[in-house]
C-alpha cells in the first residue's frame, strides 16, 4: 500500500517534469533562444541592467532569480529531510548498545592544543573572508552560497576545537529557525519588495536612477543565502554529532 502510494506520487511528480523537458528546445540547436539573443543580452547589458558587475551573480539573482529561489527551497527541504531522518534514528531503542558494538572506528582523541590554537588564531580571518565573499559577490567571483559554505565550515571547525557548548551560543535557540530559513525569508522579502516596485514577484526595477535599490536588494539576497547556508550546514553537523 505504502509502496504503491510512493510510486503514484513519483509518477505524478515526474509527468509535469517530463512535459516541461519535452517543451525545451533540443540540446545544441542553434536556433534556441539562448544562442540567438539571451546570452548576448546578458553579456552586453548585464552589468548595467542587473546591478552586479559579476555577471554570474547578475544572472543568478536577477535574471534567473526565481530559479535561485527554487534552489534555495530545495536546500532548505534537504535540511528538513536530513533532520527528519537523523532525529527518528536517534530515538530508536537500542541505538546506544549498538554504538559500543561497532568497534572498527576508534573514539576520537582529545583535541590537540596546537590545532586548537591555530584554528582560533585563523578563525577571525576566515570569518572576515567569508563575509567579504558574501558581500563582494556582485563584484568579484563569490556570493552567498560560497561565503555561506565558508562560514559553515568555520563553525564546524570551531565546534570540533572548542566543543559544542561554546559554539552553540553562536546559534541561539530562538534565532535558529530564522537563521535556517534566512535564504527563503530574504527571497520572500525581496520578492515582495520587487512586486511593489515593478508589479512582478522578484522583479528588479530597471531604471538607472534606482541603481542603489537594485544593489541593496541583491545584497539582502546574498546575505540571506549566506546566513541560511551556513546555518543549514551547521545544523546538519550538530545533529549528526549529537546522534
Amino acid at each position: 500500500m505504502k509502496k504503491a502510494f510512493v510510486a503514484a506520487l513519483l509518477i505524478i511528480t515526474a509527468i509535469p517534469l517530463l512535459i516541461g523537458v519535452a517543451a525545451l528546445p533540443p540540446h545544441g540547436e542553434t536556433t534556441a533562444p539562448v544562442h540567438t539573443h539571451i546570452s548576448a543580452r546578458y553579456l552586453m547589458r548585464g552589468a548595467e541592467e542587473a546591478g552586479a558587475d559579476n555577471i554570474v551573480t547578475g544572472v543568478l539573482l536577477n535574471y534567473r532569480g526565481l530559479d535561485t529561489a527554487g534552489e534555495v527551497t530545495v536546500i532548505f527541504t534537504a535540511l528538513v529531510a536530513g533532520l527528519a531522518v537523523l532525529i527518528t534514528r536517534r530515538k530508536e531503542p537500542g541505538a546506544k548498545a549498538d554504538s559500543a558494538a561497532r568497534g572498527d572506528v576508534p573514539a576520537p582523541p582529545p583535541v590537540s592544543p596546537v590545532v586548537s590554537f591555530v584554528v582560533q588564531l585563523l578563525a577571525p580571518f576566515i570569518a572576515l573572508f567569508a563575509v567579504y565573499v558574501i558581500l563582494n559577490g556582485h563584484v568579484t567571483p563569490g556570493g552567498g552560497f560560497q561565503g555561506g559554505a565558508i562560514l559553515g565550515a568555520l563553525f564546524i571547525a570551531l565546534t570540533i576545537v572548542l566543543g559544542e557548548g561554546r559554539t552553540r551560543s553562536l546559534m541561539p535557540r530562538l534565532a535558529l529557525p530564522w537563521m535556517q530559513g534566512a535564504a527563503l525569508i530574504s527571497f520572500v522579502v525581496v520578492g515582495v519588495l520587487g512586486a511593489g516596485l515593478t508589479g512582478y514577484f522578484l522583479g528588479f526595477p530597471a531604471e538607472a536612477s534606482l541603481h542603489l535599490v537594485r544593489e541593496l536588494m541583491m545584497l539582502v539576497l546574498e546575505a540571506g543565502i549566506g546566513l541560511g547556508g551556513a546555518a543549514i550546514f551547521a545544523t546538519l553537523f550538530l545533529q549528526m554529532e549529537a546522534e
Binding site: 582523541p109 590537540s112 596546537v114 590545532v115 591555530v118 585563523l122
Partner: protein
C-alpha cells in the same frame, strides 16, 4: 650592468627552484618512506617549504601591488595550516596506536 629586474628574476628563479626541489624530494619521500609517520613528514615538508617558497617566488616576481599582498597572505596561511595538518595527522595516528617503523624489526603490522 645588473638591473633591479635582473635581481628580481634571479631571486624568483632561485626561490622557485628551491620550492620545486622540495616538492620533488617530498614526493619521492611520500612514495619511498617506510611508514605513515615518515610519509606524513615528507608530505608536510612538501606543502610547507615547497608551496611556501613557490608563493614567495611569485610574490617577488609580481612586484609591489595588491596581488602581492594576497600572495603573502596565502603564503602565511600555508605556513600556518600545513604544519598543523601534519601534526594533527601524526597525533591522530599515534593516539590510535599506530606503531612507528623500526629498522631492526622491519615493517610493523
Amino acid at each position: 650592468m645588473i638591473s633591479t629586474a635582473d635581481i628580481r628574476d634571479a631571486t624568483t628563479v632561485v626561490l622557485a627552484a628551491f620550492g620545486a626541489l622540495f616538492f620533488l624530494v617530498g614526493t619521492i619521500g611520500l612514495l619511498r618512506l617506510p611508514d605513515f609517520y615518515a610519509r606524513t613528514h615528507a608530505a608536510t615538508k612538501c606543502d610547507t617549504v615547497g608551496a611556501g617558497s613557490l608563493l614567495i617566488a611569485l610574490a617577488v616576481f609580481n612586484g609591489l601591488d595588491a596581488s602581492t599582498g594576497k600572495i603573502i597572505a596565502l603564503a602565511g596561511l600555508v605556513l600556518l595550516s600545513s604544519p598543523t595538518t601534519g601534526h594533527a595527522l601524526a597525533r591522530a595516528a599515534h593516539r590510535t596506536g599506530l606503531a612507528p617503523w623500526h629498522a631492526e624489526k622491519g615493517r610493523t603490522p
